[in-house]
Symmetry: D2
Subunit: 455 residues, 4 copies
């Protein structure tokens, strides 16, 4: 996952700082790196680096970026070496001037496209999909001499998930793939048009939400205003359900549906699907909060925050000993003994991937005296990896891959375990055009490419 | 406020890293600076600097500190220049060997004591109370040739609030002032004795809580074990009520009373004292959470988190314009429109000091469509400054100083405003021996010194 | 100017640290940035950044680079923004695997080549010549399927000055342009082959000098040993005379001629061409030293170091006032009053470009009491800009551009001024196949491209 | 050794930046740390830290220091931990206001004085002599109620070497010990009075040299002007000869004698005392330069710089192997083969302490083909440690301690070795009131204290 944010200022005012605040509001979508590219109509300036938005963009750097059109990116942490080269936006110089590209998602056939380009003599300086898109796009524009035509042609070659921002020297273009895997929305405040991964960034900037970018839509913003094109007539929408469950900020609304409300409704349905007699309900903070509140509302079991999160993060230097992993959990989460001692406790979490952290938390809760621990989970069993940009785990690492509920409950150490059902999830979200690949193993796109990719 | 943490290892094992984790768990008590001093029985090594615990103590620094007795300190942010010189522990060399001191609190007569010492030719290299205590202590030990006697004599001179750790080369001493203003507790795990501002740090280290240090108690830990002395026979206890309401971590227990439970109980009583018809309750996170949960429990109005906190902090570079203050609030807190629109909302906060932030939050909540906003506050009206270590504000800055509820409600912009009553607070905490000076203007100690201090 | 350094280890030992030391010895050729790329036979790892070699390569970075073939680069300070993107080696991924390129020099027709490539749809991520060479090279290899043939074809397109290192995953290639503008030499120590801009880096590593790379030569080093190819049959050699006069380190030997000896011999000839009666000779350190020693030897006027250089450099924060420029000189150079007072002084410098620093130094020397100041210069009058990689100045900025000796002497404030003659220079160097373009305005290559380039 | 610099501005202008430039010019006297303290008449502000002057004082720090009287300090590298606490100026608060102290030198009886003060109940936060002086001074001023009287009393207690700056809130005081061990001089420019360890810092600031501070003199500068006091009527002057030979910058003049001229004259006398038939003379740069020039002048053997120093220093990460020490030398110094091959070479160095570096340099020179190497040394045999602030070595580490010339020559690997005689040295300097303790073992002060100190 990543976050993208763009602005076009009709008043030709400098948009750098607004992009900076927008990225700050999207920081939850990626903490590895950040970048901003802005055009003053004549050329593109940019800066990007490893780190959080506030670490990468210090005052002097922000003050040296000027432009009235711009895009920004926050990069999701992935395995492997963190390098500036792989940060975005990706900026290139070509016969068409400078172009900057930022995207959120994963192109499944990127290796095939790259090899094809390499065979034609193209070279690459990064391993980002953005560079491949840039190369394809410029070739196509030169060939067709028509930007929109060229973009359509390129997009038709891409297999995968992507929300995309393209910055030309005089124009901002936003694209959402035909499946609408990733969110992307439009805001405006009279003077500027905004494009953002989530509308929470619009709220931060006190900007009105206009509408979501539609799956398969190309939005072009330039001096003449905003125009919309469709690049795939037929497209089956399959928006990522995990955006609602875990990834998006709870104050965001995706395709008209409030993330917070989804989570609370999942909690209510969990209470119906997996009721239990207990004394208190506590979320595993922060991602489990809304689910737990919903569960409490339905079950009438009182909701407390029996696990306190340490607000001060940052890399702690962990003692290399057998207890280090447990310590790592306790440095982040702390149980409130007075709420847990001698109690039957329902813990509510958003999802279980590997199950290792859940196990340590349950153990910690029992250590301070919980009589029973019942775990309720807001996401159905995750049994297949995501190939669309969420670095979950390999199939073998997924605890639910080949294990039944009873086995998982035993490993984690809980008295009972309940996942929301897929039907419950769909009803809670209130839409059916979702990607459920990680829950069902049925992928909405061709995935024959992925052996190349899957490390 | 500050946080202090100490360890004595009977097995003579290096305690540096455990102090580091302890300070990390106490980080909420002070974010300006951090320091650790450890003794190997022959001399004291130390390191301190400006910054968060994880910023100050990098791997190489931790690896260069060895000792089996040690103390640590996190420093509360105060106005004025941040300087290493004012960080703690304060370490001195004397004819008695090296001594390190760390404290939490404020000595009211420090200027008087300093001037007295200066007249005798003593000089000072910092402006910390710790240095004054160190100077007095060493003079007294030389005079009396009896550590405990000397400590008692020095403590009898101090007017104010202090929880104190003194590290001698061979011994760790913990002191809590006779009023017990600040918390201080003892833990043990068979091999080590721990002293901590709050027991949440013991939980983090998986250490058993033994007991609180008593007001007016001196605890001496050395190779012979732990001994207890009383330095004031008569003492009126007046523990800071604000520790329960705001300062301490919710998972801590102070003098046998769970902080989380106090806050929830205050919330319940608030609902009784100031009921209202409303659609939802939301805390102002994170400090309002437990109060709001209690209010919801009692009132049956559903509890939601309608204000989302941005987890990624760090200094943002704010645009210098008229909207900057509002932006600053929106960068930290974001309203969930779908929960607030057209709703009658009860917001619950822990306390109101100046009222400026409350006003901005209420404004933001109304902007997304809340029909009514009712504010409920977990701390009675704050009308007088604190002279015991909490940097609240000057009398004039306190919104409740000379204003009635109606006036305050109007300024903040709410339909109704309700503070918990002092009686309600005392009942919720379940003890009466509390310092309520900021609520009543009646100070448990002589405060004739404070004109010198009060900027 | 820049410096390049490469190693091929037949024993397949890690060459990273040796490249690091080599670059450290070549640091005088470029202080803006540094980079190292190494291949382990399967892929290329690299790191580059803004800063001095010792700033860019900290222990942990060096320890993460492994490879038995490698190249390094130090980048010359140029005007404009310093960015990592423009540091070298430039590393690309292509259908032929990864390739890294580092070069010293300037390609005059780079814009033409770039535009041509852009027209074919190629895109660029930096403004370095290396990227253009990389793109051309890969196209050509794909076309010809013969590395050597391809390199020859590419080199035949380049107009300008370049010493070049190309790192393939399995092979190291060194190229010196057909004019031999820039130095490049080969060393060996039984286990490794070394390529270096100057042999001083070989001396630092205690490696034997083998021979210079010949103008128009391609040297290929791989598992089969070292092979040599010629890519231009006819070539007029024109090695940069400024390497001997200023740029190279005095302990280097270029094309068989000792730099130190050249400078001393120029000094002797200066004494014959421009004798003067004086009390002492002093160099303007460090670059004037060897010239001054030669002048003293011939003239018998005693040599002293009457200007002392501050060894501690680093950016000083200069007071913004009218005296700041003078202060800037005095912070770097300090006159020895006891040697200069009431003396007739010959100052010897390597060259005069703009003349502004010379003027300030002369002024400073007179201020401490020098009776007469005579300036002798080791380089003939510089009247034309260099287009081959030395950032001298624009024509208008060159003090000698349209001024006679008398005028220049008056501006600088000296009693007499003598430049070495071009004939004297040629005799002192002992070779005639030199580029004298900055002295004569006659350029050894086509320079019709330069209007594009010359800012 | 250390460097000190002070300014009093009669125009009450901010002196911070001038102190900064002064310290930059004195950087050669200490590279471990730097500090500046300034008074605006009401209080003292200061900043100090580990590092070079340009590293410690960045723009924002300089811009936050205001005052019209001020002192600065550069700290000499010593063994042991580098800590901010031991940097100077040392600033204290007392009943007399704030006082800052900076000194160059070593107080031999500091431990005795410290113990005495500790017995009286004083405590110490650093291990600097400055803190002891501060404590003594404040006691004495309180007792006598007369600053000058108090300073005299304190100085009479000190045994050792010290040049001292004392900053009161309204006054700057400079002191040079009665032996005049360390240099200290006065400058003025009409608006300010300057005190500096060496006059080279005055030259850098374009300030006129007024006079040296006399041994046993106290100079008081305040609003009424400058006054002079003598604190020891009888005093035997013994200025450190090593200041002339090695420590001071060659452009400085100490007690009326030019350092550069001394070194050149020592070189001439060396040529007479230890003549040799040779082809070239080369200094070991930079400290050997002036000596070698003098030797060349007298002997008529031509002077060349056959060893080139790498201008770019900074910590290089050395390969941990058997050759690392040799590499360390070659990274700093590089031989010019063309000057050395088949030559009989005279190398000239300022002094030999342990002899290990000399050995490696000689080895390196022979490796490039020198036929004979003759070493000439500008300082007589060093046989005893310095107790006055120069961290030479322990007696056992001094190569000349118990070895004759022949043995030393053999160890170092030279064909002949010649040290200047003590008589020659005295004549070259032209004064006899010098400290020659390291050459003779006869110390000008009582040294019974030193067992405590000598590690």
């Amino acid at each position: 996952m990543c976050g993208i944010f763009g602005i076009y200022s009709y008043e030709k005012e400098n948009v750098t700082k607004k992009i900076y605040y927008g990225l700050f509001a999207l920081q939850h979508r990626g903490q590895e790196g950040a970048g901003i590219a802005v055009s003053d109509g004549k050329g593109i300036n940019f800066y990007k680096n490893i780190g959080l938005v506030t670490e990468v963009f210090k005052k002097d750097i922000l003050q040296n970026l000027f432009g009235y059109i711009g895009i920004g990116h926050v990069r999701y942490s992935t395995t492997g070496i963190k390098s500036v080269e792989n940060c975005q936006p990706f900026v290139v110089k070509s016969s068409l001037g400078q172009i900057a590209i930022a995207h959120n998602g994963d192109i499944l056939n990127s290796e095939e496209l790259r090899l094809e380009l390499e065979k034609k003599g193209h070279i690459f300086t990064s391993t980002t999909d953005s560079e491949i898109i840039a190369q394809l796009l410029i070739r196509e524009i030169i060939k067709t001499n028509d930007r929109i035509e060229a973009i359509k042609n390129v997009l038709n070659k891409l297999v995968g998930a992507y929300s995309l921002l393209i910055l030309f020297e005089d124009c901002l273009i936003a694209v959402r793939d035909e499946h609408g895997f990733k969110p992307l929305c439009i805001g405006e405040d009279g003077e500027n048009i905004y494009i953002s991964s989530e509308d929470c960034a619009l709220t931060t900037l006190d900007v009105s939400f206009l509408r979501d970018v539609k799956p398969g839509e190309i939005v072009v913003i330039n001096n003449d205003g905003m125009e919309s094109y469709t690049f795939k007539k037929k497209n089956k929408v399959s928006t990522c359900m995990f955006e609602y469950i875990y990834f998006a900020r709870p104050d965001s609304t995706i395709d008209g549906i409030s993330v917070y409300k989804v989570r609370k409704e999942v909690g209510r349905r969990l209470a119906k699907e997996h009721p239990v007699e207990a004394d208190i309900i506590s979320p595993i903070p922060d991602s489990g909060n809304a689910f737990a509140i919903g569960y409490s509302e339905e079950s009438k079991i009182p909701y407390y925050e029996a696990l306190i999160k340490n607000k001060y993060t940052g890399r702690t230097f962990i003692l290399p000993s057998q207890n280090e992993r447990e310590l790592a959990v306790r440095l982040k989460l702390s149980p409130v003994r007075s709420l847990l001692e001698n109690k039957r406790v329902v813990l509510v979490d958003d999802s279980i991937v590997r199950g290792t952290t859940s196990k340590r938390i349950v153990n910690m809760v029992k250590k301070v005296g919980a009589k029973e621990v019942h775990l309720r989970v807001g996401c159905p069993k995750i049994i297949s990896p995501c190939y669309y940009g969420i670095d979950m785990a390999t199939k073998e690492e997924l605890i639910a891959h080949k294990k039944c509920i009873m086995e998982i409950a035993k490993i984690i150490g809980v008295e009972s375990l309940g996942y929301i059902s897929i039907e419950g999830l769909l009803k809670a979200i209130g839409r059916k055009d979702l990607c459920l690949a990680c829950l069902t193993g049925e992928y909405p796109t061709d995935i024959n490419f992925i052996k190349v990719q899957n490390r």
